[in-house]
Amino acid sequence: MDVLLAPFQYEFFRNGVIAAVLVGGLCALIGVYIVLRGMSFIGHGLSHAVFGGAVVAFILQFNFYVGAVSWGFVAALLINQTVRKTTISADAAIGVVTTASFALGVALISRYRRFSQSFDAALFGNVLGVTPTDIAVIVFVTLAATFMIFFFYKQLLFTTFNSEVAQVYGIPTFWIETWFALILAAVIIASVQIMGVTMIGAALVVPPITIRLLTDSFHRLIIYSTALGALTGLIGMYLSFYVDVSSGASIVLLQSALFCVTLFYVSRVRNRNRLVETPVYGPT
């Protein structure tokens, strides 16, 4: 019991756990829609794009959150519109828009080397740096994302399933996709401190694909994926504390390990069922 409670004597751990549980659940919740839209790479790409925005905001002495959210939102909209209006596929659009933005951030960092240390934390995640302001931002984004998904659940489901057909049935798909892009950008910014730019993509994708292996039901996928994200956030924080590795890496490694175990389990169950169901033909 002491092993579980001892880290809570430190304020940074208490803040880190709150942030990791919320961010883990939030990324997994949003990730369900990302995976089902076949845009798994968008989290990885947008987090890099946001990094460029954060650097620009730092240089221009803007508020970090304002600069990064605006940058991420514009990048998400650019990707959405490129996919909607042209024949360019989602992965190509994500690759172009976000890598260019990340490259801008790298170029600016190499030009102004004096602040490269603080951006290491943004790249790989640093639980020590979670402040009460960061927690307030994460709580706000969690509430906003949950509100949107709760009250636009059916519209978002139909739009994710088939955006064009949803439009015929009166769903305002443009606004739904725009709101989703904004929420996604906000989730990524809120998650940067705890997960790190390089790990957010996995935190968005791994819990939903793990649960997807176990269920064919959309609402179960939403609930269990969020729960898995939050749980791995909590356990990942303990791992981070005791093994002394970055919080983002420990959470993603834990999620990836669970994915491998689930994949192994599902493959074995399927193989067993296949053997049971295969009719045996013999001489009659």
Partner: protein, 283 residues
């Protein structure tokens, strides 16, 4: 009677490529219209113009009211079959979401969805994942989603593609019943015989409207050959029409048996086609 949707002088294209030219089409209340034509004729583009998913380059499209209830059954190939939804959840998507802001359906909504599924004889499959249904059952699920919205116009894009003959017959049977109950229907199909048997008004399309009218007038060898650029045999018996495309008409006479005489019409060409790789090298 005022048409529900009226297209006048509509041109549409993708970039420099014209897909549809000078389209005049009126969809009147209670009509059952079938669009036929070869692949690439612009049938799906025309449906999407009617559905307001595309904007014409020229011409105008007028709806009798802005709140006209139109529902759409897309081509079965456009559906993501691995998406985690059951048949019932697909049908529930068709309901007006402004009536219920909560994420879960009301009891009355589920009963409505079940009643439609029951009408289409797939009520027992409501809890099944859409991937686990046969082609005909999948098509009926999407038809149920369209019907649960109680549309004034039902638009279907190739509703019998990928389904067996019996299921295709059933789908047209239900559509005929719906039309007899007053629903306006617009569909595209490649199944000319099914269209000849069930659709009262046929529009033959190949980038422009080649002809439109009752099937007895449209399914003639000259109109079909003009639209499809191939040779057709049209057989009429009592009130029935049978349409068959001649295999020769695609330049396949060298490799396909003659439908009347049997056997291969050209011995030399058969020898050449026996080994496609060497035939390619020779060419």
């Amino acid at each position: 009677m005022q048409p529900l949707i009226e297209l006048t002088g509509v041109n549409f294209g993708y970039g420099a490529f014209n897909v549809l030219e000078d389209i005049d089409l009126h969809l009147h209340p209670g009509q059952f219209v079938g669009l036929v034509g070869p692949s690439g004729a612009g049938k799906t583009s025309l449906l999407k113009l009617v559905l307001d998913l595309l904007t014409p380059v020229e011409g105008r499209i007028e709806r009798v009211r802005s709140n006209l209830r139109v529902t759409y059954v897309p081509q079965i190939e456009t559906v993501d079959w691995s998406f985690p939804v059951t048949a019932e959840e697909v049908v529930l998507m068709g309901l007006d979401h402004r009536q219920n802001i909560w994420p879960w359906p009301r009891r009355s909504e589920r009963e409505r969805a079940r009643a439609i599924l029951d009408k289409l004889e797939i009520d027992h499959l409501a809890e099944r994942h859409i991937r686990d249904l046969s082609g005909g059952q999948q098509q009926r699920v999407f038809l149920a989603r369209a019907l649960v919205a109680e549309p004034e116009i039902l638009v279907l894009d190739e509703p019998t593609t990928g389904v067996d003959v019996r299921s295709a017959e059933n789908i047209f049977h239900w559509l005929t019943h719906l039309n007899q109950d007053g629903m306006t229907i617009l569909l595209t199909t490649h199944d000319l015989n099914m269209a000849a048997a069930h659709v009262p008004w046929v529009v033959c399309l190949n980038r422009r409207i080649m002809a439109q009218g009752p099937p007895q007038e449209i399914f003639t060898e000259s109109i079909l050959e003009d639209a499809y650029k191939g040779e057709f045999i049209v057989i009429r018996q009592n009130d029935m029409i049978f349409v068959q495309q001649k295999p020769h008409s695609h330049g396949l006479s060298d490799v396909l048996p003659d439908p009347v005489e049997g056997g291969l019409p050209n011995h030399d060409s058969r020898e050449k086609s026996a080994n496609p790789v060497s035939a390619l090298k020779e060419s």
